[in-house]
């Protein structure tokens, strides 16, 4: 394991002063917030903070899953397709179950009217299952991660259309309204879900031996193998975590829109990768942490939110995101030899 990895591993819950010294992203976030507060009377309003936090939740969850996979030196291009697929499967399976029980759980207008909790459980299991398939293909059948997850992305997008016949499904139960819209102590419920997953992942990845295996595999898979680590199992686990995060992101995402539709969330896998990279996760593996992915999410969301508040068009927003991403990758490349030495 490299020094950089050890640094990342020890960065579970550092003090505020250490954080401010060690994490330039915190200064960037502070700069964005101060700029927003100075230039717009609307930036620090409760409504806008809620918008920002909701954005952090969905993209942050996708990026957390991506971070775990990237720590192993791999990539998961299927996360956005998985987030929609898991919800679609949830609806379809529940409707079939309802048919079996003689109950009509898809009412006029394609509105899902069945119980919500089993539906959510099926969605989560589906996400994990997709991750497991990806992981098994990559770890045991030696399919290149890029190819395996690109194929999954394409196939799942196709499945989404096949399963829905191109129709949207409406999700209008009180449970979805709660997940999508409820604010608890000024914080959107979706953000609380994200924070819970973040804390769990920090504890697992940075605080357990099993979690440290991801860094070991990403740092040097051959060395990890020689050290007796069953790398295949951890690779499968990493993809299952990514699938879990994607399904959870899908629940938060569709609960906000009160519907699921096959074409939704196209291209979000690239946003997830971008956030992880902005947070310092190395594409080559072994470096990164969920905590820094949170910072990456905050930089990404607060920056885009500021541009939106300024009324900057999406073309320019994309340009700025691209520039920031290139800068982040370049900085990480510059920083790596220094960290290794």
């Amino acid at each position: 394991m490299s020094d950089a990895t050890l640094k990342s591993s020890s960065a579970s819950f550092p003090s505020l002063v250490t954080l401010l010294r060690a994490e330039p992203l915190l200064w960037l976030i502070a700069a964005i917030i101060v700029t927003g507060a100075v230039t717009s009377e609307y930036y620090l309003t409760g409504q806008n903070i809620e918008n920002l936090l909701r954005s952090v939740s969905v993209f942050g969850l996708l990026a957390l899953g991506m971070t775990v996979v990237m720590l192993t030196g791999r990539i998961d291009l299927s996360v956005a397709a998985t987030m929609i697929f898991s919800i679609v499967v949830g609806v379809k399976v529940m409707v079939l179950l309802g048919d079996g029980l003689g109950l009509r759980w898809l009412v006029k207008g394609n509105t899902y009217a069945g119980p919500s909790l089993p539906f959510l459980a099926i969605a989560i299991v589906t996400g994990c299952a997709v991750g497991a398939v990806n992981g098994i293909g990559i770890a045991y059948f030696r399919i290149a991660p890029f190819i395996m997850t690109l194929v999954s992305l394409t196939a799942l997008r196709g499945f989404n259309y096949v399963l829905t016949d191109g129709h949207p499904y409406y999700l209008r139960s009180p449970v979805f309204a709660f997940i999508g819209d409820q604010v608890v102590l000024g914080i959107p419920f979706s953000t609380l879900v994200f924070l819970a997953v973040l804390v769990a992942l920090i504890l697992f990845v940075n605080g357990t031996v099993a979690g440290s295996r991801f860094y070991a595999i990403g740092g040097s898979e051959r060395a990890a193998l020689y050290a007796g680590i069953r790398t295949e199992r951890f690779v499968v686990l990493a993809y299952m975590i990514s699938g879990f995060c994607a399904a959870l992101a899908g629940i938060l995402f569709t609960a906000r829109l009160k519907s699921v539709d096959a074409p939704l969330a196209s291209g979000y896998e690239l946003t997830a990768i971008a956030i992880a990279v902005i947070g310092g996760t190395a594409l080559s593996g072994g470096v990164g942490s969920p905590w820094r992915t949170l910072l990456g999410s905050l930089v990404f969301a607060s920056g885009l939110n500021l541009l939106a508040i300024w009324g900057i068009g999406t073309w320019y927003q994309n340009l700025i995101v691209g520039t920031v991403l290139i800068a982040a990758v370049a900085l990480s490349r510059i920083g790596r030899p220094r960290a290794s030495s």
Binding site: Y42, Y169, L257, K258, S259, D261, P263, G267, A308, T314
Partner: protein
């Protein structure tokens, strides 16, 4: 305003329906009634017939599988707001602020508003206009007309955002405008389902919202400016009945099923042809307004089927993609008996009209994007009504006039007098070399 069913709205056209349903009307000259009313009457005639029976098993299966009845029954058909009567030649000419193309917008006299400051002259009104696709000729024309109307009023500040076909991004844009306490919002939603909740949130925040062209799933939206989708599909069906005499094998290039454009256009087309037993649907593709996908789908179909006689296209982009594939395969005149493949189109882009002129496409049902101005006027009127400055709000349903189909030669089909490309100054998109 309570929800108005299509059936209720159709009552106003019932008298005309009786006239249109009379046998032999197809051979009569064009009706003296406005084309809007005449088309509404034909919509009722064919909708009623399709509800009673659909003799073609192929068409019936497709119609039922895709659930068209659910969409068609709730799509409003009826009178124009304020008793407006549109006539060819009406409208205003200007250069599009975004496309820089010369535009003649047909409906600038609909819900008219004088040039100059609006409502409280001392106040600046901030209006958000969010849509998808600055790179799409139809959509940039929509934005052109919205920006043109806003620019006519010095105390209106318009923020235009392209959500890049990401429904979630469009929702976030609306949420940002709610946080910024905008005075009004106009949107072009790509799909109905996901855009309902953001619109509901804006309405709950006291911001009037007007949708253009397509619908959202919101039931509390201030106004919907709806196009003539029903008349589009109907006229494609009417033309086909006229040209193919009730028989032929077809392929369909369609948009996403969840879109209003596909649900209503394709549904009404099938209503018209559903009682002719000799049509056969060979293949049915969702090419999602993308020319390249329509090209590929059509090229594949041309390889798979030798007897294609009809290509139905839900939109103009699909039609252009299909025609390109037919040309590349050298199959324009490969329908049974050496006849030309009938290509049916929607959306009156200049390049589509060029193909009509050349005889490569057979008809196009115009669906003008030049309606952004109506949305801006409507939302200003809502803002004024909410502030107590105007006595009345615009109606919830603002239907745009039904427009007659365009064919190479002038003809009369079921009382509809078609227009030739040269009689249509409202085409959108870049000029194409002839």
């Amino acid at each position: 305003m309570p929800a108005v069913s299509r059936r209720q709205l159709l009552k106003s056209a019932a008298g005309l329906a009786c006239a249109a349903a009379l046998p032999g009307l197809a051979s009569t000259p064009a009706s003296a009634a406005p084309v809007h009313d005449l088309l509404n009457a034909l919509i009722k005639k064919y909708s009623d017939a399709a509800k009673a029976a659909m003799a073609n098993a192929d068409i019936k299966a497709l119609f039922e599988k895709d659930g068209f009845r659910d969409y068609l029954d709730v799509y409003p058909v009826g009178d124009l707001a304020g008793g407006f009567v549109w006539k060819p030649g009406m409208g205003a000419s200007f250069t599009g602020p975004y496309s820089k193309l010369q535009i003649k917008a047909p409906f600038t006299d609909y819900l008219p508003m004088n040039e100059g400051p609006v409502l409280d002259k001392a106040k600046t009104y901030r209006i958000g206009f969010v849509f998808h696709g600055f790179n799409h000729p139809w959509l940039i024309s929509l934005a052109d007309t919205a920006a043109w109307e806003a620019a006519r009023h010095p105390n209106v500040q318009l923020e235009v955002i392209d959500a890049e076909f990401d429904d979630n991004k469009m929702g976030q844009v609306i949420d940002t405008w709610i946080a910024k306490k905008f005075d009004g919002i106009v949107l072009w939603p790509s799909r109905e389902a996901p855009m309902g909740p953001p619109v509901d949130r804006a309405i709950a925040a006291g911001i009037p919202v007007v949708s253009l062209d397509r619908r959202t799933s919101s039931e509390v939206i201030s106004s919907e400016v709806l196009g003539n989708f029903y008349a589009n599909g109907l006229q494609q069906g009417l033309y086909l009945q006229h040209a193919a005499a009730g028989a032929g094998a077809m392929i369909c290039n369609r948009k996403d099923l969840g879109s209003t454009a596909d649900s209503i256009r394709t549904g009404s087309y099938l209503e018209v042809i559903g009682n002719s037993p000799d049509y056969k649907v060979l293949a049915n593709y969702h090419t999602n307004s993308q020319r390249t996908l329509a090209f590929k789908a059509t090229a594949d179909a041309l390889q798979a089927f030798k007897d294609i006689a009809i290509i139905f296209n839900t939109g103009g982009e699909e039609a252009m993609g299909a025609l390109d594939a037919v040309r590349e395969a050298g199959r324009l005149n490969s329908a049974p008996g050496g006849k030309k493949i009938i290509i049916l189109a929607n959306d009156d882009a200049r390049e589509v009209l060029k193909e009509i002129r050349a005889g490569n496409m057979d008809m196009v049902a115009p669906y003008t994007p030049l309606i952004g101005d109506i949305g801006i006027r409507a939302v200003i009127a809502h803002i004024g009504h909410k502030a107590g400055l105007l006595p009345e709000a615009p109606p919830k349903l603002i239907l745009t006039p039904n427009l007659p189909m365009i064919t190479r030669e002038k003809m009369t089909i079921e009382g509809i007098e078609t227009l030739t490309p040269d009689e249509w100054p409202y085409a959108y998109g870049p000029e194409v070399a002839s």
